[in-house]
């Protein structure tokens, strides 16, 4: 948590005397301390609830209609992604719940680097690229796992933009007059698939980290994705995972079409 007053505090400083400034700073820090205590209390309640759900004492989360989660994405803070054992435990829970398609993302690519270790620890999972190659994406026997990082987000869209740009230049050169470039969203979809980005839009995105922020997950794939903040990875528990998925499956999704 950043408690330095910054530029805003320096502007205030010019207009109030030093004693008032220090008093305001004291109030500000006290406010943030109270907020931190509030969040500590909330996370303790969530941990207890998670424990009760995991142990089966809360019957409501017993049966999950997991088919409604066709594609699940998990965003992990890159510093926490180094805890590979935690990541593997999380994936085993997801696999046991019956999720068939999963995308793992962290912005620095730590999970991508440990892809082999992670895949070897899972019982019945296949890399997404392999499933696409063998055309077994609809095969429900194995869970497919896609690994993504920040280079698969805006940078991938930039590469697809160059594919469209080249096509435009080719036709502009052969055309009678120079027309303005005019692309469609479908063409952008095709360009992304042509350069190897075939992953669909996730239905649900679980964020394991300190902040509710998607940290650069591909903007093209987040249009109607539900995002749930699960807290830091080190405090993950099976109960809160079940609760998040259960909540998604029981809410009627309206995609506006």
């Amino acid at each position: 948590m950043d408690l330095k007053p910054g530029a805003g505090g320096q502007r205030v400083n010019r207009f109030v005397d030093p004693i008032s400034y220090h008093f305001l700073q004291f109030l500000w820090r006290t406010l943030h301390l109270l907020v931190s205590l509030w969040y500590l209390q909330v996370s303790m309640v969530q941990m207890i609830e998670g424990f009760l759900i995991s142990s089966g004492l809360v019957k409501r989360y017993g049966a999950l209609d997991i088919d409604k989660v066709r594609y699940l994405a998990i965003v992990v803070d890159s510093e926490e992604a180094y805890q590979i054992s935690k990541v593997i435990q999380l994936l085993k829970w997801v696999e046991d719940m019956g999720v068939k398609h999963l995308c793992l993302y962290d912005s620095k690519g730590v999970l991508k680097t440990n892809k082999k270790t992670i895949m070897e620890s899972l019982n019945n999972a296949m890399p997404f690229e392999e499933a696409v190659e063998k055309d077994v994406l609809l095969d429900q026997k194995q869970m497919t796992v896609e690994f993504a990082s920040s280079s698969d987000g805006k940078e991938a869209i930039t590469r697809a933009a160059n594919v469209l740009f080249m096509k435009y230049l080719k036709y502009a050169k052969t055309g009678v007059g120079k027309e303005e470039p005019c692309f469609t969203e479908d063409q952008m979809d095709e360009a992304l698939k042509a350069i190897g980005y075939k992953g669909p839009e996730p239905d649900l995105l679980l964020i394991y980290g300190p902040v509710r922020c998607h940290l650069g997950f591909s903007p093209w794939r987040l249009r109607y994705t539900e995002m749930v903040h699960m807290g830091p990875l080190r405090y993950m528990n099976l109960g809160s995972l079940k609760k998040a998925i259960h909540r998604f499956t029981t809410v009627q999704q309206n995609y506006g079409t």
Partner: protein, 183 residues
């Protein structure tokens, strides 16, 4: 918009610059005229900018940024030797995707300059407890706190804004570090 034009004195008293962003070509003529009028009337205000997104989806914005970047780059590229070499292999045949992919005329910074909405927000508030972005600001929310209070839009008040600002302050250094990493 007509109501805003009638309250122009209040907008000017608070020194607010109003801008409409999005695919404004899709607006009907009277709406476009009214939007242009309020934008011209408040163009010199500088204390605060109010961006109103109309005819806007994030995916359309990304495609628009690609179009703008393509147009800006096309004159530069026409004389580029790489393109001549790439086309020379073609002689009327289709250029392979590999050749296309390796050409780096459009850069990420070009796309970022040509989005409708700049600068990027620090906090995004989505009312009514909805946890999805619904094709809004997908590009701009890479380092943005997503806040979804259960309150419906008319009930959003100062306390929600204060709570959003407090959470932004709590995580400011984390998100600044992430922004630096992505640069």
């Amino acid at each position: 918009i007509e109501g805003m034009i009638m309250e122009e004195s209040i907008i000017n008293a608070y020194d607010i610059c109003v801008r409409f962003v999005g695919n404004l070509k899709l607006l009907s003529e009277p709406v476009k005229t009214a939007a242009d009028k309020i934008m011209r009337a408040t163009a010199n205000n500088s204390k605060c900018v109010l961006l109103i997104a109309v005819c806007y989806t994030s995916t359309d914005e990304i495609v628009h940024a690609v179009e703008e970047s393509s147009e800006l780059n096309s004159n530069e590229v026409c004389n580029n030797q790489e393109l001549e070499e790439a086309n020379a292999t073609g002689s009327g045949t289709v250029i392979q995707i590999e050749n296309m992919e390796s050409y780096s005329g459009i850069k990420l910074v070009d796309l970022e300059k040509n989005t409708y909405i700049n600068p990027y927000p620090d906090v995004l508030i989505r009312t009514s407890g909805e946890t999805r972005l619904s094709n809004y600001l997908l590009w701009q929310t890479t380092n943005c706190i997503l806040y979804s209070p259960h309150a419906l839009w008319p009930e959003i008040g100062l306390r929600h804004v204060v709570w959003a600002v407090i959470n932004c302050q709590r995580h400011y250094s984390y998100l600044e570090k992430h922004k630096e990493y992505l640069k």
